[in-house]
């Protein structure tokens, strides 16, 4: 029987496919290509900061390089990585469906994404952009770089994000297999549902904000320009009303991956299924009312600062619920140390540090001291890279057999995990110290006393790069010529594992019927008392 990879052949059959699995993989390769590009810019940033003063580039170039790094990693890598790439492939399969609700819209989303990415990237070949990925006014109005193209590109990519979210919401509502009630829905899908809600509700606000900024640059409409009575801080409010929830677009799907991996490799039912499911919505809800914490020193009123500070701390509650539930799932389980589980451990370590330093930053007095320092940079890299990218790696290894019908090699996967974990901590932990000592972010130069820690950080970035390059090499080889994978190598219960690897074009030979929740894992060596509840 033909599988989805051999169902039809040729480049054209891929580019015009309506198969969610192929669209998912097209997203995956596109995202990884941009990850490479954004990663090269990251290495250049660290190289410039190897020593004070000029190392390899001048200050104006540096401003462009960190703008490219941020904009690429946010809009073209982390936001689409798990939902649009892995989600597209896995969501319909977990539902027991043949496709997403609107397959043509799904393909259109991909091409809208490509169009936006091309428009934004074209700035690289013109006069670039140097506003940072946040495009703060009034500088973004005045800069004579080609920032308009980056703005227009992000605007276009936003529609792709909205349409993917819309597609996922309707798919989850309308395409669940018989018996797949909400209380049996895999946690990855709960997470994608919460993510989709944010994508659908927040992204339109970014769209109008970027559009106004484009008009600001083209027609001088003045809404964000203080020169004719406009308000530059209004831009920050609008921008963060999207971009703070966007942070949860990046982390919620990552949490979904971890919620799948941990019970499968602990051989125990997930602890706190409902708590994990609902906490995704808790995070999505709180996401919309904390944007002001990006603006504590932007001239916001003290009352607003106080309220936003308090609300921000609420984020820690649903997040803590998840972290403790994952740890409790592992408790007295029979843990298998395969690569997806190793990456889940990496996620737990790094994300916990990232999350807790988020609580520091929510505290007004500390925030004022460390605003716009490397402390903030370290915090969000621990969450975005340590959290989202670690989970992406966990997901890539976990579903690798399903994507290609081949196994990745376990040995090299451990080596690359070790390189990434060590490299990551080496790169970003020193930045917490630098930040607490007052080193400002986004500067090309620094005082000589910061040299040592910056060197450590730069050296760490090379380990990170080595880890990713090595992973790319063995994954590529395994994709071409790895060991053939069985249908369900991890003995997992979710529906995507109940069909061949790789799956047939229509996903399932016979339409699946669900009779139980997917987390009923039992290991004969684990006493039954340890499976259901804590002693």
């Amino acid at each position: 029987m033909h599988d989805y990879l051999t169902h039809t052949r040729g480049l054209r059959s891929w580019l015009t496919t309506l198969d969610h699995k192929r669209i998912g993989l097209m997203y995956l390769f596109t995202v990884l290509a941009f990850f490479l590009l954004g990663g090269v810019f990251a290495l250049l940033i660290r190289l410039e900061l190897f020593g004070p003063g000029r190392t390899i580039m001048d200050a104006a170039t540096y401003n462009k390089i960190f703008t490219y790094h941020g904009a690429i990693m946010v809009f073209m890598v982390i936001i689409p990585a798990i939902p649009a790439a892995i989600g597209n492939f896995i969501l319909p399969m977990m539902l027991g469906a043949k496709d997403v609700a609107f397959p043509r819209l799904n393909l259109a989303s991909y091409y809208i994404f490509i169009a936006g990415a091309l428009v934004a990237s074209s700035a690289l070949f013109l006069r670039g952009a140097d506003t940072g990925w946040t495009f703060y006014t009034p500088y973004s109005i005045r800069t004579n770089t080609t920032a308009t193209l980056v703005l227009a590109g992000a605007f276009i990519m936003g529609f792709s994000s909205i349409l993917t979210g819309l597609n996922f919401i309707i798919s989850i509502h309308k395409l669940r297999a018989p018996g797949l009630s909400w209380s049996r829905l895999p946690l990855f899908l709960w997470a994608l549902y919460a993510t989709s809600i944010i994508q659908v509700l927040a992204t339109p606000v970014l769209a109008i904000t970027l559009l106004l900024l484009v008009f600001e640059r083209l027609f001088r409409i003045g809404i964000f320009d203080p020169a004719i009575g406009g308000d530059p801080v209004l831009f920050q409010h609008f921008f963060w009303f999207y971009s703070h929830p966007a942070v949860y677009i990046m982390i919620l799907p990552a949490m979904g991956v971890i919620s799948e991996v941990i019970p499968v490799f602990s051989r125990k039912p997930i602890f706190g299924y409902k708590a994990i499911a609902y906490s995704s919505f808790g995070i999505a809800l709180v996401a919309f009312i904390v944007w002001g914490h990006h603006m504590f020193v932007s001239g916001q009123s003290e009352l607003a600062n106080f309220v936003f500070s308090l609300l921000t701390m609420f984020v820690a509650v649903p997040t803590g619920v998840k972290v403790f539930s994952w740890v409790a799932t592992m408790y007295r389980g029979r843990i298998r140390f395969n690569a997806p589980m190793l990456y889940a451990f990496g996620f737990l370590q790094l994300f916990t540090i990232g999350g807790l330093t988020g609580v520091f930053l929510a505290t007004l007095a500390i925030n004022v001291h460390v605003t716009d320092t490397y402390f903030v940079v370290a915090h969000f890299h621990y969450v975005m890279v340590g959290g989202a990218i670690m989970a992406l790696m966990a997901g890539l290894h976990y579903w690798f057999p399903k994507f290609w019908g081949r196994m990745y090699p376990e040995g090299p996967a451990r080596v690359s995990f070790a390189l990434l974990l060590a490299g990551f901590n080496l790169t970003f932990f020193p930045q917490f110290i630098l930040g607490s000592q007052g080193m400002p972010r986004r500067y090309w130069d620094y005082l000589p006393e910061y040299t040592m820690l910056n060197r450590v950080s730069t050296a760490g970035s090379w380990f990170l790069a080595a880890g990713f390059v090595y992973a790319a090499v063995y994954l590529w080889r395994a994709m071409r010529a790895g060991e053939p994978a069985p249908a369900n190598p991890w003995e997992a219960n979710t529906l995507e594992w109940q069909t061949a690897s790789p799956p047939p074009h229509d996903n399932f030979a016979t339409a699946p019927v669900v009779t139980d929740w997917p987390y009923e894992y039992r290991d004969p060596l684990v006493p039954a008392s340890a499976s259901r509840s804590l002693p």
């Binding site: 319909p92 469906a97 043949k98 496709d99 997403v100 609700a101 609107f102 397959p103 909205i162 819309l166 597609n167 919401i169 309707i170 509502h173 309308k174 395409l175 659908v200 509700l201 927040a202 992204t203 339109p204 606000v205 769209a207 109008i208 904000t209 559009l211 106004l212 008009f215 600001e216 027609f219 001088r220 409409i221 003045g222 809404i223 320009d225 004719i228 009575g229 406009g230 308000d231 209004l234 609008f238 229509d506």
Partner: protein
């Protein structure tokens, strides 16, 4: 007679597909509300900051033209509803007639808008940095016209998209592709068109009648 419509392979039934499409359209309209919502928030903030300027500036808008357009759009919503009902009842000629009427009313809206815009251009009542009108002295007045042009402009883009969709429906209806068994696109474009109408219902009093 209408041709039978086969539902896509991943839906259990044609009704499931119809329900999914309708739900999808509602979610899409929510995103539209949020996009326009940003503009309404900006409007609210600047009106709060500069109430006197808004009062002065709004006198330079043509209330009679705005009112005409309000009437035109409400009428077009009625003809759209009639087109949907006619399709559901399998009365193709009536459906075609009402689609044409809706299209013409939308065109009428654009013609009125054209004269309004042309007049504003002529008087130098332009957005932000391009504002050159001598009569309106308030230095913040350009902001009002920035909001006016962005809000009505974005709405106008939606009217244009709607006209494209109605023309597409017309073509498909004339070919007999819709009927009591399958009328999803007609119903959904109807949703969209009412939304476009509704946005104008808010824009008209906020911009033209603020005083």
């Amino acid at each position: 007679m209408t041709t039978t419509h086969h539902h896509a392979h991943h839906f259990a039934s044609a009704n499931d597909e119809f329900e999914a499409a309708k739900q999808g359209m509602w979610v899409f309209l929510v995103t539209e509300v949020l996009m326009f919502g940003g503009l309404f928030v900006a409007y609210g903030i600047f009106r709060g900051l500069y109430p006197d300027m808004f009062h002065e500036a709004h006198k330079f808008l043509a209330v009679n033209m705005g009112a005409t357009n309000t009437l035109v759009l409400i009428l077009s919503s009625i003809t759209m509803v009639l087109a949907v009902t006619a399709t559901q009842r399998g009365r193709r000629d009536r459906a075609v007639l009402f689609l044409v009427l809706t299209f013409l009313l939308a065109g009428c809206f654009l013609v009125v808008k054209y004269f309004e815009y042309a007049h504003k251009f002529h008087e130098g009542l332009l957005p932000g940095g391009y504002f050159v009108n001598q009569e309106l002295k308030d230095p913040k007045a350009p902001l009002f016209f920035s909001l006016y042009f962005v809000m009505t402009g974005l709405h106008m883009v939606h009217v244009l998209v709607g006209m494209g969709l109605i023309a597409w429906l017309f073509r498909r209806t004339a070919r007999g592709e819709f009927g009591p068994q399958y009328y999803t696109p007609v119903e959904l474009v109807g949703f969209y068109w009412h939304f476009v109408d509704l946005v104008w219902i808010y824009l008209f009093p906020l911009l033209y009648l603020v005083g």
